[in-house]
């Protein structure tokens, strides 16, 4: 059985626990063992923290990485933002002796030392590399006939070991295809959803990032948005509500890949608490399951 130290991050357990529920069910079905990290903190979040103070951000990431080192396990993230922050910090600390020494001087005061012994993996990598597409497909008992527009999320393009930035997005696409969804290409997959720019300019974020994506997805006939990142999910769900005040009406469901996998594996939708979504995910799933 493949075993990881699970880094849940902030947004999934605190705001979108349906993704955590779905992920745990999927791990169980696929035989991935995820050991919870005890006493972890925010990765820290990549928009504000890293711009504020590099040493503070690196020391916080390093502390989280040492928790996985204590378990002797590679770290697994379910969130694109956590992935980028932790993987980037891991790379910086592994290869920059000056930064590692500075951070370890701080950590040693608390009985910790970053040794650079673990890797950070995104969930799509673990699913693709450790389980494989065949391993996933054989568990699909309820193929979902949904027209889905994929949104990979900017941080999924970050690569630290290879040069192909489409490596993880392609993995996500192929994994999604195993569930039976019909993927709708809409041409704006690379455009940011606008989540980070909400910190600076709400109107820009909504009208120049979110709106073009939603408009194109709808015009291409997508029934749902399919994401892997919780921050993007929040932007798509809350952003649609906020766009109403600018005169734009959208009500598209936004489902996470882990939820989609759980549903296609036959996990009852009620067990997933999809009602926690702020978009009509539950209605979509009920409709699709009635039809099939």
């Amino acid at each position: 059985m493949v075993k990881y130290a699970l880094f849940l991050g902030c947004q999934i357990p605190m705001r979108l626990p349906s993704i955590e529920i779905a992920s745990r069910r999927v791990f169980n079905i696929l035989g991935l063992e995820a050991v919870d990290l005890l006493g972890y903190s925010c990765c820290p979040e990549p928009v504000v923290s890293r711009l504020l103070d590099e040493t503070a951000a690196l020391a916080t990431s390093a502390r989280n990485l040492t928790l996985a080192e204590d378990l002797g396990l590679d770290m697994l993230t379910l969130c694109n933002g956590c992935y980028e922050t932790l993987a980037e910090a891991n790379e910086a600390l592994k290869h920059d002796a000056e930064k590692r020494s500075k951070v370890n001087t701080i950590l040693r005061r608390y009985g910790r030392e970053y040794a650079g012994k673990v890797d950070v993996k995104h969930i799509v990598e673990a699913l693709y590399e450790d389980v494989g597409l065949n391993g996933i497909r054989k568990h699909v008992t309820k193929p979902l006939k949904i027209r889905a527009a994929l949104h990979y999320g900017c941080h999924l393009y970050r690569e630290y070991k290879a040069s192909d930035i489409m490596r993880k997005p392609n993995m996500m696409r192929e994994i999604a295809m195993q569930t039976g969804v019909d993927i709708i290409d809409y041409g704006l997959e690379r455009l940011c959803c606008g989540y980070p720019s909400m910190q600076a300019d709400e109107e820009f974020s909504l009208k120049h990032r979110l709106l073009p994506k939603l408009s194109r997805m709808r015009s291409k006939g997508a029934e749902t948005i399919l994401t892997i990142c919780p921050a993007c999910t929040i932007q798509f769900e809350i952003g649609q509500v906020m766009l109403r005040s600018y005169g734009f009406q959208f009500n598209m469901p936004c489902i996470n890949l882990m939820e989609l996998l759980a549903l296609s594996f036959g996990v009852p939708h009620r067990d997933l608490h999809l009602e926690l979504h702020r978009s009509p995910v539950q209605q979509l799933v009920q409709k699709v399951l009635r039809v099939s």
Partner: protein
Amino acid sequence: MAVSLEDDMVNCVREGVGENLVEAYKQRERRIFVRVKPEAFRDALYAIKKRYKMLRLITISAVDSGLDMEYLYHFHVEGAVLTFKVTKPREDNTLESISDMFPAANLIEREISDLFGVKLLNHPQPEHGLVLTKDWPDDKRPLRKTFEGILPPQARPVAEALISSGCVAPISSFIQRKREDAGLPKSPAFTFTDEDAMREFHGILRDVGLAEKTGFDWEKKRLRYK
């Protein structure tokens, strides 16, 4: 070996204020900066006034950083320039006069008071009206900045939640109930669920000075500005 004038000045201040001397450095020959805690500033002045006969107040500079007021007292000391740096949080909007010790401070302090809107303590003429009119509105002092730190408004809740709890998305009781319904613990094993982890996390943030940089108040566990 003879002690240099610069070292002698620092030693003199250290003897006068002890641990209240925060930092001291020589920028170049005969140019010294000494930072002391506000509560020890007068003791530092007594010490140098007693030690050096050739001592003159050149001027006082005031800098409003948004969260703090920094006062720089420049002295001519036996051919060198010594600057005392004293920082006070903006929540304490007072400036204690040194005009009883250095009469030349009188007008400078009044000018600072007019332009920045700080209240003078123990000053012979503490009222406003030296460089501005007496009826100048208190909330429109020309050199006074808005009370805020480096974080833009949208980033403040994120930074505040991160520093205070280690998590940027505080959990609601509704979500806690839903998690329990689903067989999950009320909250994942975050720093704030464990005292030792929280102490360690806060210790790291203190060590890197993130709270000072952002204007976080450890006692109240929130940012000093909205």
